[in-house]
């Protein structure tokens, strides 16, 4: 048969899948991922999922955006076509700040949300897991743990047996 994507085990409780993850880590599995209908903080901790990168993106983008906006205003009103407007200074920095700040926020928000999609490798409409029967309930009321086939410790039969021991519901192999 063709190469497998991994072994997928279904649990009907969050605790179940969390326990399974803990066990799998203990058993030395490294390439595993869990799927749940709502965020599982523990699972994230167990899998050492870091998200610091997102605020970094936000801050950088925000600063860049604000800088660009501010300079654009300065360049247009004070450099490219300097016009005496009501005797106000050409480089009226207090008046240039609000828009700069607002646009900074625009960049920051856009960047962090788009960045989030990128980090999640989304959009990805096609995925092997979608072939797995019952996986549609990952978005509703079931919890899944998947051990990928490229895991060094991966052994088809062994892994299946391991997962069945986690008193999971259905355990199945997912084709790549």
């Amino acid at each position: 048969m063709s190469r497998a994507y991994g072994i997928l085990a279904e649990f009907d409780s969050a605790d179940g899948v969390v326990a399974a993850i803990r066990a799998a880590r203990a058993a030395g599995y490294t390439r595993l991922d869990a799927y749940s209908p709502f965020p599982l903080r523990e699972a994230a901790d167990l899998l050492e999922q870091r998200t610091l990168i997102v605020p970094v993106i936000a801050v950088t983008a925000g600063l860049v955006g604000a800088a660009i906006q501010y300079y654009a205003q300065y360049w247009m009103n004070a450099v490219d076509y300097p016009i005496n407007v009501g005797g106000r200074p050409l480089h009226a920095w207090p008046a240039f700040l609000p828009a700069a700040f607002i646009v900074g926020i625009l960049w920051a928000s856009a960047a962090s949300l788009i960045g989030m999609l990128a980090l999640n490798r989304l959009p990805r409409l096609h995925h092997p897991l979608f072939d797995a029967p019952g996986f549609e309930r990952a978005s509703q009321d079931r919890f899944f743990l998947c051990i990928a086939s490229d895991d060094p410790k991966f052994d088809r039969a062994e892994t299946i047996r391991f997962l069945e021991r986690m008193n999971a519901g259905r355990v199945q192999e997912v084709a790549a």
Partner: protein, 437 residues
């Protein structure tokens, strides 16, 4: 599907958009909203075809409903987003039930608001001149103008609110994708779900980004609402030339946003029988907040009166004009509806009655509109030279714009109710799973 998952949390919510058809009440409502949208088209065609002279505006009353409605709508939008954002950041339970449609309300309101800055122009078809693009005539916008600030504020608000709202929807879209039976809706939802799988990694990034943007929305809203206030406060018009205007606008804005959210919450709860998700606790809490807001506004009104009295003859005259001159009605009615009426919410029984809460929020909404009227129109009556005088009388095309935007707002809301989950399902699961974090 088996019995179990129909009882599954959020099942009911998901079934609303997946239902094959809606009952006559929804159809009637959307028809009515559609009719109002036609009115909006009429109201927008009038000034474009004949000139904004079709309004009651003149010199010195250069602005009429155009600005009154704008300030009202933008206040609602900002109030609603601010409310939603705070809930997210505080990780407050209320967010489970409120956020999704609160963000929706903000989005629809800002769209309604966005119509006016364009429509109020003498030459609306040239509105894009406020955007700095390299034109062959090589003239740029004037960035010292508060109107330019507002241009950026509104655009930013629309984009950020949309993004935030959509991001929140992605996991629920996945749910709909997976629950839907018809291939067509599966495909549509699937496309917009972007292939969400709900993996640990997905959730982690999703939640972080969502919180960060929510946090960014806070200052954005404050600045934006202040910018709107600056459009008045930075002018020389005696009644407007006042550093406290931003405070007034923010506070009243929050109140109107709150009122709208509460009102819509009650509508949804009754209309879609969502008692289980929008429970009495939620309603009561919002009612309390509304009461608090109205008390703060009371203080603001008093404070404004005081400072005006202390600020010398011109300020006193303009205050007297607002209180007792031709537009005094709006001022007092505003106080009655915003400050006095909500006081009934002190009583437990009142707070527990959906009807009373709905009426209270409606009264605050109308009151805030009158407050805008009294500030914008009433403010322009006191000028420096006594020779400058006149009056302002709204015309039908102006009413058409108000009614029309209300229809547009209702229409958006109805479509949202029809095709999308009005309550965040993953948050609900989260809450019911007990892992409140």
């Amino acid at each position: 599907m088996t019995e179990t998952d129909r009882e599954a949390p959020a099942g009911i919510i998901a079934d609303i958009p997946l239902a094959l058809s809606f009952d006559w009440r929804w159809k009637l409502a959307i028809a009515f909203a559609g009719a109002l949208v036609l009115l909006l088209v009429f109201g927008m065609a009038q000034p474009v075809l004949f000139g904004i002279g079709v309004w009651g505006a003149n010199v010195p009353y250069v602005w009429g409903f155009d600005l009154v409605n704008y300030v009202w709508w933008i206040g609602i939008a900002n109030g609603a987003s601010l409310f939603a954002a705070i809930l997210v950041i505080r990780r407050h339970d209320l967010r489970t039930s409120i956020n999704r449609f609160a963000e929706g309300v903000a989005l629809f309101a800002v769209i309604c608001a966005g119509i006016f800055p364009i429509m109020h122009l003498g030459r609306p078809w040239l509105f894009y001149w406020t955007f700095p693009y390299p034109a062959t005539f090589e003239v740029w916008p004037q960035f010292r103008s508060t109107l330019t600030w507002d241009f950026w504020a509104i655009s930013t608000h629309v984009i950020v609110t949309t993004l935030l709202w959509y991001t929140g929807l992605i996991p629920d879209l996945a749910t709909l994708r997976d629950r839907s039976r018809s291939l067509r809706s599966k495909t549509v939802f699937g496309l917009f779900a972007l292939g969400w799988r709900g993996s640990v990694r997905h959730w982690a990034y999703h939640q972080t980004a969502y919180r960060i943007v929510a946090a960014l929305v806070l200052p954005l809203i404050l600045i934006m609402q202040s910018t709107v206030a600056f459009e008045f406060a930075t002018t020389l018009v005696p009644a407007w030339h006042d550093t406290r205007k931003p405070l007034h606008f923010v506070v009243t804005g929050i109140a109107s946003g709150l009122a709208t959210v509460l009102f819509i919450a009650i509508m949804l709860r009754r209309g879609l029988s969502l008692e289980r998700y929008i429970d009495d606790e939620d309603i009561e809490l919002m009612a309390k907040l509304l009461l608090a807001a109205s008390l703060v506004i009371a203080i603001i009104y008093l404070e404004e009166a005081f400072t005006s009295v202390l600020s010398g003859p011109l300020a006193q005259e303009t205050l007297l004009a607002r209180l007792f001159d031709q537009f005094a009605g709006a001022y007092w009615a505003a106080i009655l509806l915003i400050v006095v009426a909500p006081q009934v919410l002190w009583f437990e029984r009142a707070r527990s009655s959906l009807l009373v809460c709905a009426l209270a929020s409606a009264s605050v909404l109308v009151g805030v509109w009158l407050d805008r009227f009294s500030i914008v129109i009433g403010g322009m009556q006191g000028d420096y030279l006594p020779s400058v005088s006149g009056t302002y009388l709204p015309t039908f095309p102006e009413w058409a714009l108000l009614g029309g935007t209300l229809g547009l707002f209702a229409g958006f809301l109805l479509l949202f109710v029809r095709f999308l989950p009005v309550i965040s399902m993953f948050e609900t699961r989260h809450a019911e799973h007990g892992d409140g974090s």
